[in-house]
């Protein structure tokens, strides 16, 4: 058998050093924000832990995917977005759905394939998006949604709306042509879009060394796009880098590539034991767990983090009961909605819990 990858020693060259984003995030996050970030990450993890359990109990059809260890990236980046800024999450970004206000019961119902799940059983696992709340449902082809986010940004520009779009994708997605097309297009047209590259060291089983020779964050310069690398396991650092990218986008400064360095702590899916990752590497990353880190920060500030955890536990338990009570979808409805037969609705507004959003929101998506 091939020995496990030594991910630490094989990493491709990187001129940009791994460091916190410039500027102190504390200037922009009050204590409630910082507590909320913990709450959102705990909710994300609790939803995925519950989903995995349901899968192991045989209650989830198909396959199951989670983003354990990457909660800080999706939560931190989405937390910086305004209500009118849509987000395109990918496979490890349950936190984006949670921040935008997707109901926990709707997500668990999605896993279970129920009529009350976000996609009503038409899709499973992470393939959904509550677009009424500004979350665009992903497709499995990578990184198609980066191009769609670029198009939304183009629409905002043409309509004179002060908004931006954000798309997540992984290190593996940077090898496909759509990555290049989106990077180039967004830079040429200087569009208000934020690209968040979640470098979680692995694309399924393939390590970075077999994915690229030059780190994508360095490639950004070739497109004429600013890029920054942040600690993807520090929710406040990710938030701050995204906050800055968003301001650049809204002020006409064009797109930004953010590389969030993190680690996929589970297999690609629940069926994958990830034996190709050495236990030492996982143990080292376990020490950097993003939730433990934020909890320690808040504890030092006197926040009762156990109380936050208890809140989340109760919320997810209630949502689970709700999801399990949802009926299964009616097979007689499968042909419905293939075509849109009425005036189309457009992407709506999501939650924007950050205290720093004043009256800046454009606020027209309901129109």
């Amino acid at each position: 058998m091939t020995p496990p990858h030594d991910l630490e020693h094989e990493a491709p060259t990187r001129a940009v050093s791994l460091q916190a984003a410039p500027g102190s995030s504390h200037d922009h996050l009050d204590l409630d924000d910082r507590r909320r970030l913990l709450h959102l990450m705990l909710t994300t993890r609790a939803i995925e832990e519950r989903g995995l359990l349901l899968y192991k109990q045989g209650k989830v059809p198909g396959s199951f995917y989670d983003g354990r260890g990457q909660e800080a990236t999706a939560v931190g980046a989405t937390y910086a977005l305004g209500a009118d800024d849509p987000v395109c999450p990918l496979i490890r970004d349950m936190g984006a759905h949670v921040v935008k206000g997707t109901s926990t019961a709707g997500i668990l119902g999605q896993y279970l394939g129920r009529a009350g799940g976000v996609s009503g059983g038409r899709e499973g696992n992470v393939h959904f998006g509550d677009w009424h709340r500004g979350v665009i449902p992903m497709v499995s082809m990578l990184p198609d949604m980066m191009v769609v986010a670029t198009g939304m940004a183009m629409g905002f520009r043409m309509r004179g709306e002060r908004r931006c779009a954000l798309s997540f994708f992984g290190d593996g997605a940077t090898s496909r042509g759509d990555w290049h097309e989106a990077m180039n297009w967004a830079a040429v047209q200087q569009l208000p879009v934020i690209f968040v590259l979640e470098n979680n060291q692995l694309a399924y089983s393939t390590p970075l060394t077999q994915q690229f020779r030059v780190n994508p964050v360095e490639r950004a310069a070739g497109y004429g796009m600013p890029a920054v690398t942040v600690d993807g396991n520090d929710v406040e650092a990710v938030f701050d880098a995204t906050r800055e990218a968003r301001l650049r986008a809204l002020d006409g400064g064009g797109p930004t590539l953010i590389e969030a360095v993190t680690m996929r702590m589970h297999g690609h899916g629940a069926h994958d034991d990830a034996a190709y990752v050495s236990p030492e590497v996982l143990a080292a990353w376990q020490e950097k767990d993003p939730i433990v880190r934020q909890a320690q920060r808040l504890s030092a500030l006197g926040v009762d983090v156990d109380a936050v955890a208890d809140e989340v536990k109760a919320e997810v338990a209630d949502a689970l009961a709700e999801a399990l009570a949802m009926p299964v979808p009616d097979p007689a409805t499968i042909l419905d909605g293939l075509y849109c037969e009425s005036e189309p609705q457009i992407v709506g507004r999501g939650d924007a819990p950050w205290s720093g959003h004043g009256d800046e929101a454009w606020g027209g998506a309901d129109a």
Partner: protein, 320 residues
Amino acid sequence: MPELTYIEAINEALREEMRRDDRVFLMGEDIGAYGGAFKATQGLIDEFGAERVRDTPIAEAAIIGTAVGSAIVGMRPVCEMQFADFVSCGFDQIVNVAGKLHWRSGLAAPITVRLPAGGGVSGGPFHSQNPEAWFMHAPGLKVVAPSTPADAKGLLLAAIRDPNPVIFIEHKALYRRARGEVPAGDYETPLRARVVREGSDLTVIAYGAMVHTALEATQDLDASVEVVDLRCLAPLDTETVLASVRKCSKVLVVDEANEVGAAGAYVAAVIAERAFDDLDGPVRRVAAAQIPIPFAPQLEAATLPDAGRIREACLDLLEY
């Protein structure tokens, strides 16, 4: 009524709809100052500016994917593939992103993708294809193929206003060769088939440039031949097709596209399945040979259907 060519009708539809609806904008390669490879967008940048007549990088996936993105936030993009053949580079965005979006989430993607398609111009294997069947097979897309200038305008207006992704097949050979009366001002042509010439002995079903070839092939036949122009391939107007077949009891289905898995193959299957009892002969087809479309005029002519082959098939059928 003014007489326009097929491409003038397309240009007029774009111009009028952009005046009418400020959500409508155009994207494609060399469609601005140059006016497009076939000049379909000629002069539009002068009236509407570079923001609404957008020259893009050579990036078909991004042309279609950004169209979807702009559409879901309220725009009505009309994309041009420089040649229909190049749509294969944006196939994934059409099939997986645009086509499935409404069924899986209820979010509509009202985009129009214009494809200059078809052979007969010595374009060779990469500038002659008829890719409509690829998109008929993918759920959630509408596929439209006008044969006349009046339909080119009316169907394009209908396509732009349709809340779904529409693949709009324009036949290159018709751009300047097809000329006809085009109503001035606003009208929509329904996405339904049309009986072009009534008859009672035999139905010939075609679309795009083959409608003209079918009319030419059958005009002097000593029989009453009905010619049906499908106009919309997906969803297919089976009602009009079956009504004509039931009336005439014999049918020939013509495609300019490669014969295997073509639009006409599906039409033939629908007829065989649902009108078998009404038939007095086999469902016959004429289509392009199953090879890439050749360059040399002699080879291309031997590949594509023509009036002679259609006429021969009609004569065979009439003998049943």
